[in-house]
Each structure stands twice: as structure tokens, then as C-alpha cells.
Amino acid sequence: MLFAVVACMGTYAHAQTTPEDAVFVVNNVWMMVSTFLVFIMHLGFATLESGLVQAKNTVNILFKNVLIVAIGLLTYAAWGFNLMYPGDFSIGQFLGFAGFGLSNTPDVAGTLIDYADGGYSYWTDFLFQGMFAATGATIVSGAVAGRIRLPSFLVFTSVFVGFVYPWVGSWKWGGGWLDQMGFYDFAGSTLVHSVGGWGALAGALLLGPRLGKYIGNEVRAIPGSNMPLATIGVFLLWLGWFGFNGGSVLSADPGPVSFTLVTTCLAAAAGILAAYLTSNFVQHKPDLSMSLNGALAGLVGITAGADTVSIMSAVVIGLVAGVLVVLAVITIDSRLKIDDPVGAISVHLVCGIWGTLAVGIFSLNPEHSFVTQLIGVVVYGIVTFVLALTIFTVVRAIMGLRVSEEEELKGLDIGEHGMEAYSGFQIFVTD
């Protein structure tokens, strides 16, 4: 890393290298590393979701994860970035658009050190935020797994990540009305996780449960097919969070970045512990998939305030998130009978809301208030949920949403893709 910085400084010193230039290079390198880390979360989601769905749907879930990255980055480049960061708003502080496309050459004036006070370049900004956009969309894929038609999902995702995510995101990170009001979301408990979570809820509701999940009054378990993959996925996501939160400092400033990483990791650890204890209490045996969800719950929970709460508060936020996620999974799955194969709603929506409100409770910044956080949660909830429901409903009317019963039983890998994930491998089937 240091070698890269020195090498950069060498080629950069065409005029004269000021200390500001050197800091800019370091900042930008850190922001680029954060971009790589957020990117790796896609691998995390892909492996986690593959682990928690049935083997016969693995190709399908992997495919959705791969396409989401593509759709996310391309729509963000085409118009999403400029919708989320319009600079000037045209309709109140509510809607703005800075035009289609990105600048086309690397050294356009204002894209380098002047762009963000030496924090990062315009290009880094686009890519870092673009990776965020794609992670928001991929939250939905887990909740709709096993029964959604692929084309329908791709259409939904294009509209959701193409328009909804950047538009509602502009209200806070783009400097819009919620930002003016004092609403705070450091790295996206609401803007990324809750927004994805509301989409997941809308999808799961409109799709209905997988066949065989609820028979009469009985709730059946449909176990995941690969616990090692699920575990790998969660650790990759945790690794990605170093960039997700660490990069949201928007510079390499040692104090805030290192502090943020500490709160992030402690919240994850607390989440695991609380989820393990809670699930053990409920099931009388410790459940690995719940403990994995607990790590994510803690991470989602701390994401809104990782830079602005105390160490102790971070642990508490993680503990509460760990308890919440287990209770939410059981409530949503068994009481409300909403089938969510990976717990996306519990992790991202429920804990995203908790994380956002927790800023109002625990923030060390006196300008943050619980009421403002609550307003933000409610507004994002209503708008995102209604929009997601609308998109899904329209897609359902035009092209159908759910695969046929026969295809669902045979598996979406054969039905949608004509291929198997574990070709030639004998999969045990019980009951």
C-alpha cells in the first residue's frame, strides 16, 4: 500500500507535489480499497444465498446475484449516479437530475483533487457509490428465492435499483430534504438496507410462500443446502463491511476510519453472540444460520451510526440487533407466514430500522434526534414499500411473477436455466 502511494506520488509530481496532493492520493487509495471491499459483498451475498436455498435453485440464485451487479453498475453509470447526487434539486429538495452518463475522460477539470476537497476523485465516487447501489438490489433476491420468474425479477431490479434507490437516496446523501432536516444515515442502514428490505418484503408478500412451506396450520422447515457456503458468505460480507463503513468516512482520515471499523466489528461480534443465545433459547439447540444472521444484523444495525456512537453503544446496538433478528425470523416465518428463505427482511429491514433509530438514541452528536430518525424511517418505509409493491404488481400483471408449480418442484435451475449447479452429484432427499 505504501509502495503504491510512493509510486503514485512519483508519477503525479509533474508540476510540484504538495502535501495536499499526497493526502489526496492516500485518501483516494483508501476509497478505492473500500470500493473493492464493497464489491466483495456481492460474492458474500452469492455464497450466503446459495448456502441457504435448496440445491435445485442454486444456479438461479447465483445468476440473479451476477446480473444484479451488472444492472446496478450500468444503470448507475447511465443515470443513477446523477439522480442520487444531482447537485441542484429542481423540485423542492425532493427531485433532481444532473444529466445522463458520466464524464468521459480521466482528467476532466474538477474530477480530481478539487472534486471532494482531496477526499477522492469523481471516478472513485461513482464506483464506490455504484457498488452500494448494487448491494441494495441484491437484498431482494434472497427473499424471493425459489419461486420468482427470472425475467420478472430482472425487470423489477432494473426499475428498483435504476430509479427508486437513487431517487430516495438523494433525499439524504444527495443533500435533499431529509438531509436538510438533520436525518442521519452514516453508511446506509436506511438508504441501502431498509430500502432493500422493503423491496424484499413487497416481493415475498406478492409472491407467496414456497410450495410445501405452510401446509394447513403447520409451518415446515425447508433447510438450506450448504452451510459451509453460507458461512463463507457471511464472513465475506463482514469483510466487505470494512469498506462499506470504513469508506463511508469519505477519506482515509485515520481517526474516524479506524474508530468506525472498531464499532463495526464489535457490533458484528455482539450480534453473533446475541443471536446464538436467543436462538438457543428458542430452539434448545444453537442454530448456525441464525448466528450467521446475527453477525449481519449487528453489522446492519451499526451502519447508520458507526462513526457517531460510543464503543459501548456499538456493542449494545449489536446485541439488540442479534436478539431482534432471531425474533423477527421466527415472527415473520412462523407467525406472519411470510416465507423469506434467507431472512433478508429480518436482517436488512428490521435491523436497518433499528440501526437508524439507534442513532437517535445513542449518537454522541447532539444534532441527531430520535424524532428525525423516526420520520426518516417512516417516510422511506412508505415510499419504498409502496413503490416496490407497485413495480411487482405491474410486473405480475404484464409478465407473471411466479414460476409454475411443476417448475418449482423440479427446481428453477432446470426450469429457468436448463442446467444443474451440482451436476452428477447425488443429492439426498428426505420427506
Binding site: 415446515r220 438450506g224 430452539q283 442454530d287 425470523v329
Partner: protein, 113 residues
């Protein structure tokens, strides 16, 4: 000629194979199966849902034998698989109409060998 089909506990396979080899029975086909008998199943828990698994993992052994080998084969299987607990398994004996060695085309008791 008879076809001996045995359902045993997966973890007893090694003992059963050893007992069969000791009884000079070397040819067999082993496959994995799920099944239930007196054992009636057990419970697993997954994400807050407690569910009953009542098809348990089993191992199925199929051995084609000449009539004079039937008793020693059955005894060997019992010796290897018996633990005294419910779930030890079952042995079925079927009449075998014919047996053909693919490599040479031999039929009948010579093919079983």
C-alpha cells in the same frame, strides 16, 4: 439362486462388510437409501421451526447368492449389523430368476460364482 437385500444402519456397514468377507462373500452392491421402521424418526430444528425427520439414512446391501450360501450370508450380515437396538434393520430374501455375467455371457449359478 437368491437375492439377499439388507437394510442396515450406515455406521454398521464396515462391520457388515468385514463379517461378509470373513464368510467368503465378496460380491455385493451397496447403495444409500432413506427409510423408516420401528425407529419412528427424530427432530431437527432450523431457524425457529422444529420439524420431524422420519425417513432416516440407511444403507442397502444387495447380494446375489447361490442357495448354499444363503444362510452364511444372512448370518454374516446379522453378526455385523446387530446391536440389539431398534433400527438394526431388516433382511429380505428374494428368488432370483437368473443371473448373467456381462463380460463372458455366463448364466446361472456359474455367473454368481
Amino acid at each position: 439362486m437368491k437375492l439377499v437385500i439388507a437394510m442396515i444402519q450406515p455406521h454398521k456397514l464396515t462391520d457388515v462388510k468385514q463379517a461378509l468377507f470373513d464368510a467368503d462373500v465378496h460380491k455385493m452392491t451397496v447403495s444409500t437409501a432413506v427409510g423408516a421402521g420401528e425407529q419412528k424418526g427424530y427432530t431437527e430444528a432450523y431457524r425457529g421451526v422444529i420439524h420431524t425427520i422420519n425417513l432416516l439414512k440407511k444403507v442397502k446391501i444387495e447380494i446375489a447368492v447361490n442357495d448354499d450360501f444363503v444362510e452364511r450370508t444372512v448370518e454374516a450380515i446379522i453378526k455385523g449389523a446387530r446391536t440389539g437396538n431398534i433400527g438394526d434393520g431388516k433382511i429380505f430374501i428374494l428368488d432370483l430368476q437368473d443371473s448373467i455375467r456381462i463380460r463372458t455371457g455366463e448364466r446361472g449359478t456359474a455367473a454368481i460364482g
